[in-house]
Symmetry: C2
Subunit: 219 residues, 2 copies
DNA sequence: ACTTTAAGCGGACCGCGGTCCACTTCGTGT
DNA sequence: ACACGAAGTGGACCGCGGTCCGCTTAAAGT
């Protein structure tokens, strides 16, 4: 239970909570009614505040609803379920990460060689997910949904692109999933906290993995 | 929801349900009272039967308790929680798999070259988990616990051993986790059912991954 | 301004996993 | 045979996530 995590801004856009975590396409968002938008914002603010106070694991949906002065039904109508709320909470940070690897400065963003960008990608993801560890762990409580969410799919697409650009041989999509498997929040957390693996070691392992697929020996 | 899955034998040993999935060490098991052992068996039988009838996802803990004619408290005392019960249900199959790669015939068991055994291992795990898909998916509902269970740790140890035997270079433990990440039930299932990847392709991807670490180019 | 209506709202309600604790039973030592 | 303690038992109880449905309200059309 990593606690505080300073409160953070709540995104105003993305009304439905459905396109969350997909950078770029706020298109097709069905436009919320004014009161609904207000409630959405308040709910996210309250959730963030309570999570900062006592850790997201100790915040119930009722807490959030009643903290925002709305009924429980409103919360579920807006976010679908608990996971949806968590995803929405994470979306702001997630978008920052996405912006960094899609259009930020090299070596993470465009400009550096693909292999180098891949290495930087791993490092960035590890740090990012570590920073918001509790949220990611909570949001991944339902393992089946993880890979269907837009943020994950964007990562897959991005890694595929870099692999192709790096002339990686083999089944690109499968390789991408293999690489992303290494970056799984739960695995990283397990290795770091339960197995005593250091961050440097993790990073080295990532670079090694990337190298195995992006040439060095198979050209 | 893959349904039927013929009923299967229920293990009589392993009283506490705690050492389940750890092949070999029924040592240290605290010896159940006769009635408790009887109830344990009945519970597992009922659970297996109901799961075969309507799929494990549609079986509640109350169903099982009342189907076995015992109170709910009894179920939880014996198995700790739902996951514990599922693990116990799987333990028989899991042990068969373990026996196969620990002491079965080559190429999966001892006798074949390590790299070949590793390739066979992936194939075996993929088929095995696919066979009991629903159970594994249900048992992995809580992602954090997966890697702390004895069965997973045994897999890690086994893969580490084979990697060392194959003179794989790099950080063996991390490599083992990378490999096992590829075999994650949820990932495999996602690729097979949601992404239309074929079994052969999956298998080829596994062999490729193994080869990257066990020589071929890095010697 | 007035109507209309789809979207939003709230909170009672449900089912499930999990806990608790007073009571029973097994099996051991005498 | 018996007494006694540890292990086992059952079912009432709890909290949480999630649903339902009758009421309210924002905002678009006229």
């Amino acid at each position: 239970m990593t606690e505080p995590l300073a409160p953070f801004p709540v995104p105003q856009d993305d009304p439905g909570g459905l396109t969350d975590l997909a950078l770029m396409p706020p298109v097709g968002a069905p436009q919320l009614r004014a009161d609904a938008a207000r409630n959405r914002t308040r709910l996210l603010e309250v959730a963030a505040r309570l999570a900062a106070e006592r850790g997201i694991a100790n915040v119930t949906m009722d807490d959030i609803a009643c903290g925002a002065g709305v009924g429980k039904g409103t919360v579920f109508r807006r976010f679908g379920d608990r996971t949806g709320l968590l995803v929405a909470l994470l979306s702001h940070h997630e978008e920052q990460l996405q912006a960094a690897f899609l259009s930020g400065p090299p070596p993470l963003g465009p400009g550096a060689p693909a292999a180098e960008r891949l290495r930087a990608f791993g490092s960035a993801v590890i740090h990012h997910e570590r920073l918001y560890r509790d949220f990611y762990l909570a949001a991944h409580a339902e393992p089946g949904r993880r890979r269907t969410n837009p943020a994950y799919q964007l990562r897959v697409a991005h890694v595929c692109m870099l692999l192709r650009e790096a002339r990686a041989d083999g089944d690109i999509e499968l390789v991408a999933h293999t690489l992303l498997g290494y970056l799984e929040t739960v695995l990283i957390d397990h290795l770091l906290t339960r197995r005593g693996v250091t961050l440097e070691r993790l990073q080295a392992g990532w670079c090694d993995l990337v190298d195995r697929y992006t040439g060095r020996c198979t050209g």
